[in-house]
Amino acid sequence: MNTDRPTILGQQVTAPRRFARTASALQIVLPVISLAALILVWAAAVPLFDIPKYVIPSPASVLRTMNEERSQLISDASATGTVAVLGLILSVGVAIPLGLLIGMWRRARRLLMPPLVALQSLPKVALAPLFVAWLGFGIAPKLIITVLITFFPMTLATIVGVQSVTITTVRMAHSMGCRGGKFVRFVVLPSAAPFVSAAFRTSATLAVVGTLVAEFVGSANGLGNLLLIASAERNTTLAFGAILTVAILGIAFYIVAAVAARLATRGLGSAHMGSVT
């Protein structure tokens, strides 16, 4: 607003600096180094220990197979990606309202927390065949399993975020007539946003896992299905190709999720609190 800004102890008072931007070169170089090292170890180990191709194929042969089967991989990856994205969106739609409900009403917490924790403790892989049996091979059981696997971290984060609002802040808001929906919009959501945004990134990678689990159990397409078929046919090279594609999909999900979370947090005005990258 002003050009000659006041100073505190000789330091200019400005909006907090974000250190992330200055480290952009390192941000790209470091992950490349770790990935390259991983692939190098893999490439060296296969001939060194004379590992047969059906146990661990060399990186070169995996890349060759991925190139040959690229149309199959792309179509399966897009099938998996679509379910994962839809499941994640659905999951956000379930987790945030649920977290608000539980965080804001003690009775809802008593009522809903035990079944939620019980559900979270169950291995979703065990539930997957049931949903397939009930709902068939369509998208529905896959979406449900993805939601089940991804909603819990975000629900918990929303609850923690709601509970981070202090009693004085609640009173301050109430004394202005800021209650109900306004209270959620002006106070609760911005308070919870940094927590939810961190959980959202975890859930985004879990979404890919969730969809794969569902595809293992019952699906006519997707990377999980491809992985299952390739393993059954002892086509280890293709199975590795599918796994590598899953990993790439996971990274893509994480990056997109991190950007989306940051935009949403900024939209709520609480961006400068969420410096966790």
Binding site: V13, P16, H174, S175, F186, S191
Partner: protein
């Protein structure tokens, strides 16, 4: 001093000029700690006239902050009732400005946007609120810190942001819980002077909690002195020093006499010992 006081934004009804009558009748408060019921406040009766400046003075933990929360409808009394402008308070009373002990700023909003929260929540005119906020920030020496986040401000500055927020909508009633506690002695004096001039211009009804005797005498029309917990009213003193009171009035005989009387009261309760 007068010319620095911001012009009011017309927000509330006709009441906003005259202030409000507050009546506190038989208000008690108990709270439960470790399954034992503890009495925080003995039956308290106070009548505050419209436009009056009443200071609640007492040692820490005497329940004066609790009483303020009850008046604001933020805490239900265990017994008794509060009426404001003839209406019984049963839910948060919103036609007021409340300054809490803890500034309760929203960490994700800048100083200016914390002040403007008041206007956003109440749906007040944006431009009017913005210019009023600018004037309030200037008069509380916050100019230039509009875009600073609470985490970047000193304790005193945070308190002043909270004060501006409470004054933004020019409320007819101010409830203030040790608003100047986090300020250094000099800023504190200045804020007392500024608050007096705001009050002289707009004659709001003010309930002001403090444990500073000289601050109480400087500001109050009437001082309600509380005993240690469970808080009960020891005495009510009328302060008749003419307004606007000046810093020099601290040395006037009336001032020292009032301070002396309160000191004696508190000494007799064992709050002050020599």
């Amino acid at each position: 001093m007068q010319d620095r006081t911001p012009a009011p934004v017309s927000v509330a009804g006709p009441e906003s000029i005259e202030g409000l009558l507050i009546s506190i009748r038989g208000v008690e408060h108990d709270y439960v700690k470790d399954r034992a019921s503890i009495r925080a406040l003995e039956a308290v009766d106070i009548e505050v006239a419209a436009g009056e400046f009443v200071v609640l003075l007492g040692p820490s933990g005497c329940g004066k902050s609790t009483l303020l929360l009850i008046v604001g409808g933020l805490l239900a009394p265990s017994a008794g009732e509060v009426t404001i402008g003839g209406k019984r308070v049963t839910k948060p009373y919103t036609d007021l400005g409340f300054v809490f002990q803890d500034p309760a700023l929203l960490e994700w909003r800048t100083a200016l946007r914390n002040i403007l929260l008041q206007a956003e929540v109440r749906g007040l005119d944006r431009d009017a609120a913005r210019s009023r906020a600018g004037e309030l920030m200037a008069s509380t020496k916050l100019a230039g810190f509009e875009d600073a986040y609470p985490g970047e401000l000193s304790g005193g500055m945070r308190s002043r942001v909270a004060l501006c927020r409470a004054l933004l909508h020019d409320p007819p009633l101010l409830l203030m819980d040790e608003p100047f506690a986090a300020l250094d002695a000099l800023t504190r004096e200045q804020m007392s002077i500024d608050l007096q001039s705001i009050w002289l211009q707009h004659r709001k009804t003010v309930l002001f909690v403090t444990h500073s005797i000289s601050e109480a005498v400087f500001l109050a029309d009437r001082i309600v002195v509380f005993s240690p917990r469970p808080g009960r009213i020891l005495d009510v003193l009328q302060v008749r020093i003419p307004r606007p009171r000046k810093l020099d009035d601290h040395e006037s005989p009336e001032f020292t006499q009032a301070v002396g009387r309160i000191t004696d009261l508190l000494r007799s309760e064992g709050v002050l010992q020599e």
